[in-house]
């Protein structure tokens, strides 16, 4: 009986499943075939024996992280920072997308949209030089400005409490232009008749934004958020290691799982250990996605992942 409905469903919508087939094959080949490598997380990987031949060692690869006493601290930082990133970056992306949408002058729109996209291309290594130029204790532009106003300079690079905010600002700066492109493409697809009807009813610009644009953007925002939640246990190494580096003074608020593991395995490059922690990060992220997806399904009609 079960087989019957499977075949009948597929044949009824055969073109749809056919269209999906090449993509499915792609993932089967390039993602699922190599996936058996995950077992390295539970093995004492030895180059000479390969993946299948290396001996099992249970959960030993997880030990260095979980018995360290710092596991909780870096995990907390990772989740906190990533949550801040999700909230603020999404906010600014939507904010600027809506603003740009209101702009009438096409030339201004095109130029500023291109300019806003530029930060996406700047590597954090280069940005860190600029950050140094701003926040240097003696030579930094900010402290110099503070001094000229009669205030004492701030020791930026030894004040951990300031850095979550600084990192959020930097990340929002980098990703706003990118997000504007995504959201603008969505906004542009909205049916104008909604807006026309609203204008006839006497709605002002702000009301249009809050009652039409934002609700219509919800599915996009939700799906982007769920996808980001999946990675919430993964620290943004490029950002954090590029900007903070080995400045241990700031670790209490900025050290994330990935930078911690990077330092631990920098000189030994043990494949088993790095795979193990990566597996844990993935599993946790996956669980969170299942939860947030369920919530999305419950409270919103659109936008859930599956």
């Amino acid at each position: 009986m079960k087989r019957d409905t499977f075949l009948s469903e597929v044949s009824r919508h055969k073109f749809i499943y056919l269209l999906a087939l090449p993509g499915i094959v792609f993932f089967l080949v390039f993602s699922y075939l190599p996936m058996f490598g995950i077992v390295i997380a539970f093995k004492d990987f030895q180059m000479g024996k390969g993946i299948l031949g290396s001996p099992w060692n249970g959960f030993k690869n997880f030990e260095f992280f979980f018995s360290s006493g710092d596991a909780w601290k870096v995990t907390r930082n990772t989740i906190f920072l990533n949550s801040m990133f999700i909230v603020f970056i999404t906010f600014f992306q939507v904010f600027f997308a809506i603003l740009l949408n209101e702009v009438r002058n096409s030339l201004f729109k095109r130029i500023t949209q291109s300019i806003m996209f530029l930060p996406y291309f700047m590597s954090w290594i280069i940005v860190s030089v600029i950050v140094m130029g701003f926040l240097g204790s003696d030579t930094g532009a900010v402290n110099k400005a503070l001094n000229s106003l009669g205030h004492e300079g701030i020791a930026w690079f030894s004040s951990p409490k300031l850095w979550p905010a600084i990192l959020v600002v930097l990340n929002a700066w980098k990703w706003s232009g990118y997000g504007v492109i995504i959201f603008l493409a969505t906004i542009v697809g909205f049916d104008i008749s909604f807006y026309e009807a609203a204008i006839i009813d006497g709605a002002g610009k702000l009301q249009q934004i809050f009652h039409i644009t934002l609700p219509l953007l919800k599915p996009t925002i939700i799906i982007l958020t769920i996808l980001a939640v999946g990675k919430i246990f993964y620290g943004d190494v490029g950002l954090i290691y590029g900007i903070i580096g080995d400045n241990a003074m700031l670790f209490s608020t900025t050290d994330v799982i990935d930078t911690y593991v990077l330092r631990a395995l920098r000189t030994s490059a043990d494949l088993g250990m790095s795979t193990a922690i990566g597996l844990w990060q993935s599993v946790m992220g996956f669980i969170l996605v299942l939860i947030s997806n369920k919530l999305a399904n419950k409270y919103e009609n659109e936008g859930a992942l599956f």
């Binding site: 090449p22 030895q46 180059m47 000479g48 024996k49 390969g50 030993k60 030990e63 260095f64 018995s67 360290s68 006493g69 710092d70 860190s128 030089v129 140094m132 240097g136 204790s137 003696d138 020791a155 690079f157 030894s158 580096g245 080995d246 400045n247 241990a248 003074m249 670790f251 911690y260 593991v261 330092r263 631990a264 395995l265 920098r266 000189t267 030994s268 490059a269 043990d270 250990m273």
Partner: protein, 518 residues
């Protein structure tokens, strides 16, 4: 119409893709092209060959870090031509950017790709390669077919660079030992300006720094990259580092090269003295306030913004470009102490255990050292095109050749050798002196740990745990930022919780075992 056209293109593409993928699956991965040569073999170098048979062409594959030098193909073509009749090898040398080299080598070796030669080192994954038998020792091969190689090296060098008694990698160095660790590069012109005599102790160094702070606005006396384990490690002149860069035990040497007491780093007096001094300097404003965030300490010195760095004389010209009249000078704070050395090199040339023709590879490597001209070809390029011989073991650029647009081969990946290497004719006297010093074993006291091969496998968990917190416990003191009064106690607590004592025990165990076995 447009849409149908699009659809047709799409279908064609998918078909092409599928077909080519299937074709690729059917093809055999073509590695070594075995092309039979018709020329007779008559080699003078391979004296062991008794039967003259046409040698099939063999491709020597190698992977190195760096960038492919300009004109590399021309140099290789020359090199291949010179051995066409005797060895008939093709040289397939690939370069990978430094940052990615370690990963690529590991993946290739694990996957079993054809890779005869590559650079490796204890600071990379040579120890794993040895214990997993991914590479093979050179001893027998050199004895049979590599006599010139053995002759090329000072005896000391080969002996001191064995791993567990065998030559697992050809040591690559153009000197036989590192320069003294008690050398600190300062600004000689400033020292003279203050009327100070050459600096010979930490106290005098401190005087120098204070004078810089007083007199030079806009300069910070000392700054360095926080990520490097401090260049100010210990007040002792000589020591050995057991462990990795970010998880180790410092073992001091006595003047005769014997091993001193092995203690945890936070109980080791040399380290304690050093970080106490560094903290004093930090409070005095000698050390950059932002030193923990510094990412380009050398750049600061070379642009005249800092009065100290761990640069080499090679870069002095940059300093002079930024600050005319500046002079780089290395102060030796332990002028009367001879450096202790185990003569271990930083880089090794490793031979794949699965190499298909080890004799040929060894023969070819031997060829390099048969004649100075062979070494010169690979290291410096085509004579009179890329370099000129200026006699007495020196070389220079030909007239009109732009240095940034010339053949530059990173010798330390393949063939560096103290006896064959040339010095640039444009070296400063300081560079020449340093080079000569590092080539003379009389300048060094032999370390009791010569030939010692540490094994970090049993403590790899501890190294990982300690490595993760090294920056916040030890590096902060080594940067002078944290007061050792509290810092040492905190370090002790945290490091012991991370299993540091096991590393110390292991160090004691292995060192005593090595001493006993001698």
């Amino acid at each position: 119409m447009k849409r149908y056209f699009l659809k047709i293109i799409a279908v064609c593409m998918i078909l092409t893709m599928t077909v080519s993928m299937m074709a690729a699956c059917g093809k055999k991965g073509g590695e070594n092209n075995q092309v039979s040569s018709t020329t007779e073999v008559g080699t003078a170098a391979a004296a062991a060959e008794t039967t003259a048979q046409p040698l099939k062409e063999y491709k020597i594959t190698a992977l190195f870090p760096g960038d492919t030098p300009l004109d590399f193909d021309k140099v290789i073509a020359q090199a291949e031509k010179q051995v066409k009749d005797s060895l008939n090898v093709k040289l397939d040398f690939q370069f990978i950017p430094w940052a990615d080299y370690g990963n690529k080598v590991m993946v290739k070796m694990t996957a079993g790709d054809d890779l005869d030669l590559h650079l490796n080192a204890p600071w990379l994954h040579m120890n794993q390669m040895i214990s997993n038998k991914m590479i093979q020792p050179w001893d027998d091969l050199l004895a049979k077919n590599g006599t010139e190689v053995l002759k090329a090296f000072p005896e000391q060098m080969i002996k001191s660079n064995k791993f567990n008694g065998e030559i697992w990698g050809i040591p690559l160095g153009n000197v036989i030992a590192a320069a003294k660790t008690s050398l600190y590069a300062i600004r000689g012109d400033l020292r003279e300006k203050y009327g100070m005599s050459p600096i010979q102790s930490f106290d005098q160094l401190e005087q120098y720094f204070l004078k810089v702070k007083e007199n030079e606005q806009g300069m910070v006396p000392a700054t360095w990259n926080a990520s490097q384990f401090s260049l100010f490690l210990t007040t002792d002149a000589n020591f050995y580092q057991f462990g990795q860069n970010n998880a180790n035990v410092l073992i001091p040497f006595n003047a005769d090269g014997s091993v001193g007491e092995i203690k945890p780093i936070y109980e080791y007096q040399g380290f304690i003295n050093m970080v106490t001094m560094l903290h004093k300097w930090y409070k005095q404003g000698i050390i950059d306030k932002d030193v923990m965030a510094q990412k380009d300490g050398k750049g600061a010195y070379l642009s005249g913004k800092a009065a100290y760095s761990n640069v080499d004389f090679v870069e002095e010209i940059k300093l002079q470009g930024a600050v005319p009249g500046a002079k780089m000078e290395k102060a030796d704070v332990h002028p009367d102490v001879k450096p202790v050395s185990d003569f271990k090199m930083w880089n090794f040339l490793c031979l794949n255990a699965k190499c298909k023709d080890t004799e040929r590879v060894t023969h070819w490597y031997n060829w390099i050292f048969e004649d100075q001209s062979h070494y010169d070809l690979l290291q410096y390029g085509i004579k009179d095109k890329h370099w000129v011989d200026t006699g007495a073991g020196t070389y220079d650029l030909p007239a009109g050749v732009d240095a940034t647009n010339n053949y530059t081969f990173p010798g330390y990946v393949l063939l560096w050798n103290p006896n064959f290497d040339r010095i640039s004719a444009q070296s400063t006297q300081a560079m020449k002196d340093e080079n000569a010093f590092c080539k003379d074993s009389a300048n060094y006291t032999q370390s009791a740990l010569t030939g010692f091969t540490p094994d970090y496998e049993p403590i790899k968990n501890e190294i990982a745990k300690v490595g993760a917190i090294w920056a916040e416990t030890i590096l902060v003191m080594a940067a002078g930022v944290v007061d050792p009064e509290q810092g040492l106690a905190i370090a002790k607590r945290k490091l012991e919780a991370a299993g540091y004592l096991k590393i110390v025990e292991e160090a004691q165990k292995q060192v005593s075992a090595f001493a006993a076995a001698k």
